[in-house]
Amino acid sequence: MYVHVPFCERVCPYCDFAVIAARPLTRELEDRFVAGLLVELERRAPAFDGRRLASLYFGGGTPSLLHPESVERVVEAVHRAFPASPEAAVEITLEVNPSTLERSRLPDFRSAGVARVSVGVQSFQDPVLKRLGRAHGAAEAHRTLAACRDAGFPSLSLDLIYAAPGQSAGDLERDLAEVTSFAPEHVSAYELSVEAGTPFALARERGQLELPAEDVALAMARNLEERLAAAGIQRYEISSYARPGCEAVHNTRYWRRRPVLGIGPSAVSTDPPVSDQTPFGSRRRNLPAVVPWLEGIESGSAAEASPPEVFDAATARGEAVFLALRELRGLDAGRFAGEFGAPPRQFFAAEIDELRADGLVDEDADGSLRLTRPGRQLADTVFVRFV
C-alpha cells in the first residue's frame, strides 16, 4: 500500500510531485486529512479483497510532517483492513526530511510501527543543497541520520541526488564517503532530471542552470556504483542500491507490476486483475489537489482524476518489460509467460534481436532479459522498443 502525504515545508525547485507548501499543516487539516485517508481505505479495500499486506509506504511530500499518532492511526487501520503476508514482516516505510521537528518525532514513529525510514538527504555539501533549494543543511542531515539509528529503525534508506547544478565530481566523492560511513541498508541515487514546469526548467530555458557535462555525469554514475559496491551496497535497480536482502519490498512491487493500493491525493493504484473485466489489471489515479480529493472522499463522490485505465494485453506486456528491465536481475521469462501465455520473444523477437545486436540487452537460454551495462545508460532507448 501507498499513502501520499502532499505536505512539504517548502517546495524544492526541481520537484514535480503533487505537493503543497507554504501553508502550515494545522492540526485541524491534519485530522481531516487522516480521516479522509481512513475513509478512502475503507472504500477501496474491497477491490483488494483476499490480498495480504506486503508493504506500507508513506511517501510524499514529506509524511514525517504528520504527527506520529496520525501515522499510527493509518498503520492500525491498514492492519485491520488486510492480513499481513505470512512470508516476511510487513515493510513499513516513512519518508523523512532532515529537520529538527521531524527528528524529535522519530522515536514515536518507530513505536507507531514504522520500521524503515527513507531520509531525503540529497547531498552532504551545503553549497549543493543550497543550489538544490533544499530547506536543510549538511549538519541537519547528519543529526537526522544519527537520530534514526538511535531511534532503532532496523532499516535506513538514504536519498541522494547527483549531477546537480554546480556539483563537481569531488562533491559527489565526499558525499559517498559520508554515505558509506553511515552504512545505510539502502540508497536511492537519482541523477537530477529537470522536469517540465518546474522552476529548474525555467532556469534552464534562460540559461541559468549549470548542470555537469554529460561525461562528468556519466563518470559520477560509475563512481557511485563502484564506491557503494565496495561498501557492500549493491546496485539492484537503475537508481537503487542495497545490502543483499535489504532491497525495498515496496518499490520492487512497482517494477514487477504487482498490485498496489494507493490512497491520498494524487496517489496511484494498480488494481489486481478481475478475471473477466480487467484480465490485466487497471490503474487509478486520485485527484491531485488536497481539497478536491478531500471533498470527493467526504461526500462519497469521485475522488479520482479520471476513469480507470484498463490494460489491454499489449500495454500490460510493454509495461511489464520496461519495468522489469529496470531491475538488474531483469525480466524473468517464466513469470512473464505465466501472465501473458508465452515468453517475451514470442511478442518482441525483432526488438530483442536488434537490441542484442546493439549490445544493450542480454537474453538467457530461457528467454529472460537483462540490460547490459551500456544498456543501463540507454535504458529509455531500450524501453521505447517495448511500449
Binding site: H4, Y254, R285, T381
Partner: protein, 600 residues
C-alpha cells in the same frame, strides 16, 4: 434579357481585414439579395435543395439586381478574387472578367501592402477603380488623410474617394450609384462569334467540373456544343446558372453576363482558368488574350513514412487533383525513402496547403523533400530533357550544361526600402531590368532564377519593406547556369532525397550550413553519425552527430508508471515519423533542412 448597358461587372480588392467581406454583405443587403450568412445557413440546412439546384458554389461571385436613381434596373455582378501571389494568375483572370474594381482602404490603417499590390493588378487589367475609405465610423478614422494618401500613392483623385462604413451601411447608396455611374458597361458584341472567359472553376461531386465564365461576345445557350479552346475539347452545355445569390438555371448567358457553365466535364484537370469557350464548329474565333495554363513551378517529393501508406497517398492525390488542376504528381522512387511521388505545385504556399491537407484530411504521415524547380539538362548532342528532382540529374561529365527557369519579378516598394530590396535581388542572382518611380513609390523589375524565389522571397520582400512591398512574378525562359549537384552523405552513404541543385559558387557555403542544420535535426543515436556535403567526389563540408551515451529516466515509482509509459509511447510515435536510412533514423524535418539555409 438585360441589355449590356444595364450590366456592371466588378470586384472588390483590399488589404486583409479592411472590410472586403463586410462590404460584400452590405451590398447584398442593399440590393435585397440574401446575406452571405443566411446563404450559408440555408445551404447547410438544406442539402436536398442544393442537390435539386444541381451545383455547389465555391466562389463568392454573385449577381445582384438594383434599381438605380435613374429608375432603371441594373444587374450587378460582384466577382470574387483569390488573394496570394502564388495564385496571381487566377486573380488576374478574375479581374479580366470585370470592368471595374472597388478598392477598399481602412480609414484608420490607411494604405497597406496588399492595397497597393491589388490596386496595381486592377490598373494593369484596365479596370475603372472606385476607391473607398471604409470604417469611417471608427473613432480613429481619418478619411481625409487616407484619401490624400490614395491620391499621392496610387494616383487616384482624392475627390473621387467615397467614404463608407460597411458596418453601419453609411455611404452604400452612394457607392451603388458610383458603380452604375463610373464603371463602364461591358463592351462585348452580342452578334459576334461567341467567346467566354473561364475565370474560375471548381469540382462538384455531382456534375463534375463547374466553370465560372464571363461571356465576352455572342452568347452561350443550353444544349449548344462548345469548344474549350486550350485543348480543343468539345462538350455540350448541360446547364447554365446565374447565382443571385443561389444558383438558378437559365437558358442562355449573353455577352456581358457572368454565370456557371456545366458541360459534362468530368474532372477539373480538363478545365483551365483563363481558357476561352466558343461554339464548336469549323471557324473558331480568336482566343481571348492572356491565357496561360496553370503550370506547376515548384516540385517536392512526397513519401509516406510507412511504405504501406503508398496506395493511400495515391488515392488522396487523385482526389485532391479533382479539385485542383494545377497540382501534378508522378510516381518516384528514392533509394532512401522508397516509393513516393514527385509533386508539382504553383508555388511554395500551394505545396504547403496540399501537404497539410494530406496530413490532416487523409491522416497520412509524410516525408517531404526540399522543394526544387524544374531544370533543363542539355546533353552533348544537343538534345535536352527536364528534371524535377536533383536525384535525376546525370553525373557530371555526362551532360553538356544545365539550364534553370528564370522569372521576371515585379516589385513595388516605398522608396525608403529600395536599398534592401535591391540588395536582396542582387543576393538572389537577379539582374535588374528596369525601375520606375511613382511619387514616393518605386517599381523595380528583376530577372531572377525561379529557384531563388520559390521558398521565401515573398516573405523576405515583406520583411525588408516592413510589409509595404509587394511582389509578383511571371516565367520568362530557361537559361544556362553554372549549377552543380550537392550531395549529402550520411555515414558515407549518399541520400538522394537530400541532394540539391545549387549555383557552383554557393555550393560550399550551402553545404556547410546544410550539414550544420541536419545536425540539429538528427537526434543522437546509438552510434556516431557522420554528415558530409559533397560535389561529386569532393567533400565540401563535414560534421558529426555524437553517439547517444545516456538516456535513462532516474525515477520510476507508482505515481508515474503510466506517465512514463506514455512518454515512451510518445517517443515511439516520434520514431515512427522518422525514416530509417541504413542504421540512421532521420526525422521529417531533416529533409526540409535545405529550407533553412538562409537563416544561418
Amino acid at each position: 434579357m438585360t441589355d449590356p448597358s444595364r450590366i456592371r461587372n466588378f470586384c472588390i480588392v483590399a488589404h486583409i481585414d479592411h472590410g472586403k467581406s463586410t462590404l460584400a454583405d452590405r451590398l447584398l443587403d442593399a440590393t435585397q439579395s440574401i446575406s452571405k450568412r443566411e446563404k450559408r445557413a440555408q445551404f447547410l440546412d438544406n442539402m436536398d435543395l442544393e442537390r435539386e439546384r444541381g451545383i455547389t458554389i465555391k466562389a463568392q461571385t454573385v449577381r445582384m439586381s438594383y434599381v438605380a436613381s435613374d429608375g432603371e434596373r441594373y444587374i450587378l455582378n460582384l466577382i470574387d478574387t483569390p488573394g496570394h501571389v502564388d495564385f496571381s494568375y487566377e486573380v488576374s483572370r478574375a479581374l479580366h472578367a470585370c470592368e471595374g474594381a472597388i478598392l477598399v482602404v481602412d480609414a484608420a490603417q490607411g494604405i497597406e501592402a496588399q492595397t497597393l499590390a491589388n490596386a496595381y493588378l486592377a490598373v494593369d487589367a484596365g479596370l475603372e477603380i472606385i476607391p473607398i475609405v471604409n470604417k469611417i465610423d471608427l473613432p480613429s478614422a481619418d478619411p481625409d488623410r487616407v484619401a490624400v494618401e490614395i491620391e499621392d500613392v496610387i494616383g487616384l483623385d482624392a475627390a473621387d474617394v467615397l467614404s463608407v462604413s460597411a458596418k453601419e451601411g453609411d455611404g452604400i447608396p452612394e457607392l451603388l450609384e458610383a458603380i452604375i455611374g463610373r464603371i463602364p458597361p461591358p463592351k462585348g458584341d452580342r452578334e459576334a462569334p461567341t467567346r467566354a472567359l473561364v475565370f474560375d472553376a471548381w469540382f462538384d461531386s455531382y456534375v463534375g467540373a463547374a466553370m465560372l465564365v464571363r461571356v465576352v461576345d455572342g452568347s452561350l445557350t443550353r444544349g449548344a456544343r462548345i469548344c474549350m479552346m486550350a485543348h480543343g475539347t468539345e462538350r455540350d452545355i448541360q446547364e447554365l446558372h446565374v447565382v443571385d445569390p443561389f444558383p438558378r438555371k437559365v437558358e442562355a448567358l449573353r455577352a456581358g453576363e457572368v454565370g456557371v457553365v456545366i458541360a459534362g466535364v468530368k474532372t477539373l484537370a480538363e478545365v483551365f482558368v483563363g481558357d476561352t469557350l466558343c461554339l464548336a464548329g469549323k471557324n473558331l474565333p480568336e482566343r481571348l488574350p492572356g491565357f496561360l495554363e496553370a503550370k506547376p513551378m515548384v516540385f517536392t517529393g512526397l513519401y509516406p513514412v510507412s511504405s504501406e501508406d503508398f496506395e493511400a497517398l495515391k488515392t488522396a492525390l487523385v482526389k485532391l487533383k479533382l479539385n485542383d488542376s494545377s497540382l501534378s504528381y508522378e510516381p518516384e522512387t528514392s533509394a532512401a525513402l522508397g516509393f513516393g511521388f514527385r509533386c508539382g505545385f504553383l508555388g511554395f504556399l500551394h505545396s504547403e496547403i496540399i501537404q497539410e491537407r494530406l496530413e490532416r484530411e487523409y491522416d497520412l504521415d509524410l516525408i517531404t523533400t526540399a522543394p526544387t524547380v524544374r531544370y533543363r539538362v542539355v546533353m552533348p548532342g544537343g538534345e535536352a530533357f527536364e528534371i524535377e528532382s536533383p536525384a535525376s540529374l546525370p553525373s557530371a561529365g555526362e551532360y553538356d550544361h544545365i539550364e534553370e527557369p528564370m522569372i521576371l519579378a515585379t516589385i513595388h516598394t516605398p522608396d525608403d526600402y529600395l536599398g534592401p530590396v535591391l540588395a536582396l535581388c542582387q543576393d538572389r542572382h537577379g539582374t535588374q531590368r528596369d525601375m520606375m518611380h511613382h511619387g514616393s513609390r518605386v517599381q523595380v523589375r528583376y530577372e531572377l532564377p525561379l529557384a531563388e524565389v520559390v521558398l521565401d522571397f515573398h516573405d523576405r520582400i515583406k520583411s525588408v519593406t516592413r510589409g509595404y512591398g509587394s511582389f509578383d512574378y511571371e516565367f520568362i525562359d530557361y537559361r544556362r547556369a553554372d549549377l552543380v549537384k550537392l550531395d549529402v552523405l550520411v555515414n558515407g552513404e549518399s541520400i538522394d532525397a537530400l541532394s540539391l541543385i545549387v549555383h557552383r559558387e554557393k555550393a560550399h557555403g550551402h553545404g556547410t550550413i546544410l550539414v550544420r542544420k541536419l545536425k540539429e535535426f538528427i537526434p543522437r543515436q546509438m552510434y556516431e553519425v557522420v554528415l558530409q556535403a559533397a560535389i561529386g567526389a569532393r567533400v565540401v563540408a563535414r560534421t558529426t552527430v555524437k553517439a547517444l551515451r545516456k538516456n535513462v529516466t532516474a525515477k520510476c515509482y507508482g505515481g508515474d508508471i503510466s506517465r512514463k509509459r506514455k512518454l515512451l509511447e510518445k517517443q515511439k510515435a516520434g520514431k515512427r515519423r522518422m525514416k530509417k536510412v541504413g542504421s540512421v533514423e532521420i526525422p521529417q524535418e531533416a529533409f526540409l533542412a535545405a529550407l533553412k539555409l538562409d537563416d544561418s
